[in-house]
């Protein structure tokens, strides 16, 4: 056992090996230091820009970040404000989503994005049930209501499976979902893509965006098997909890992004005039 543990720590106690290990360590570029004090937003020419002191926040391509929605600009500003000491861009999911949507680095078009999303439906994480009886019972308890709600909401039929072969999705079902997805704009598609890639499930994503599930529930359902296994074998904070927190952050950012982008301005102004 000791040898095993020693291997884990890669024998750091041996002075002779120490030098070698130091050379093996990878050197990442140091994250940039926080170079601004205050963050804010300004409104110009019908778009919102994020300011870091007197500078304007730019996208990776070097253009000024111009956002249509005030809420998004505020969220981005708050995200930059939350960087203490060092700027860790890998944890700024809303900023990166805004950048992706603004610059569209992969040149995605809306029909393409919808097709990518639909391809996920056949391999949807919550359509594959386990062979193990206990796990299967849990999946039926947790996943079946979601699938049922989804089928009723869109008036489609989707049958989960216990085979490896895959799920047959009728063409009519696909067309109905395609029509629903096409009603969102291109910016929202980037949010959808991120959420689906994280949750591995289009059904859970749509449930989440339609307010049927909240983000925590959706992430839990997507990680159901892992949660079940950790219940059996023990939960390790530095692996399972980190993965869960990361997933939640990404999905929450994506869901927020879609919600903000698809909020109808009409209702808002109408309400504003009534209740101001």
């Amino acid at each position: 056992m000791v040898t095993f543990i020693r291997q884990c720590a890669r024998g750091r106690t041996f002075l002779g090996l120490f030098k070698e290990i130091k050379q093996q360590q990878r050197s990442y570029p140091a994250p940039p230091k926080r170079f601004y004090k205050k963050t804010g937003i300004i409104y110009s020419d019908g778009t919102y820009e994020v300011t870091l002191d007197h500078r304007k926040l730019k996208t990776p391509k070097g253009n000024v970040m111009k956002l249509d929605k005030e809420m998004l600009a505020l969220a981005v500003a708050a995200e930059w404000d939350a960087q203490k000491g060092e700027i860790q861009q890998s944890t700024m999911h809303i900023t990166s989503l805004c950048n992706t949507a603004l610059e569209n680095p992969n040149n995605i078009t809306k029909p393409e994005a919808v097709q990518t999303l639909l391809n996920y439906l056949e391999n949807d994480a919550i359509l594959f049930f386990s062979h193990e009886e206990e796990m299967h019972a849990l999946q039926q308890k947790e996943w079946d209501p979601v699938i049922k709600w989804f089928c009723e909401r869109f008036k489609v039929s989707i049958q989960p499976t216990r085979d490896l072969g895959g799920v047959e999705i009728p063409v009519t079902t696909k067309e109905i979902i395609r029509k629903h997805l096409l009603s969102y704009d291109l910016a929202s598609m980037h949010g959808f893509l991120l959420a689906v890639e994280c949750l591995k499930s289009l059904i859970l994503t749509i449930c989440c965006i339609d307010h049927k599930l909240n983000v925590t529930q959706a992430v839990l359902l997507s990680r159901l098997e892992e949660e079940y296994q950790t219940g059996h074998w023990g939960r390790v904070e530095w692996a399972h909890d980190i993965a869960q927190a990361d997933l939640q952050a990404r999905v929450a950012a994506a869901v927020m992004f879609v919600h903000i982008n698809s909020m109808s301005e009409e209702t808002k102004t109408l309400l504003a005039s009534k209740f101001r």
Binding site: A82, I242, A245, A252, H259, F275
Partner: protein, 102 residues
């Protein structure tokens, strides 16, 4: 109304932990949130879709802020110190080293 208030409290506490500003009221997000909460303050009797939408958005934002904070905390506590010593690794999986490791 109560759930909305709870959500607002969560939101403010998360922002307080995230922001580097001393005065919470000065941050643009907080003033915006207060403004929005006032705007969507309708009576409970009325069924208002916009309010639901906003409540949902606020909840999602709370989840986002909480998750990012937790992720950063865990990462710094477990992975920022570089490689662990033999003793520490053993301790993590619940073992002790014999006194004279060879």
């Amino acid at each position: 109304m109560n759930t909305h208030l709870k959500c607002l409290r969560h939101l403010l506490s998360e922002i307080r932990q995230a922001t580097s500003d001393r005065k919470l009221k000065d941050t643009p997000v907080v003033s915006y949130i207060f403004h929005q909460y006032k705007r969507f303050q309708v009576t409970d009797q009325q069924l208002c879709k916009a309010q639901d939408e906003m409540a949902c958005l606020a909840n999602t934002y709370v989840t986002y802020l909480q998750s990012v904070r937790k992720y950063k905390d865990l990462l710094t506590s477990y992975q920022s110190a570089g490689e662990r010593s033999v003793e520490k690794t053993a301790e993590m999986v619940g073992f002790k080293l014999p006194h004279d490791p060879k």
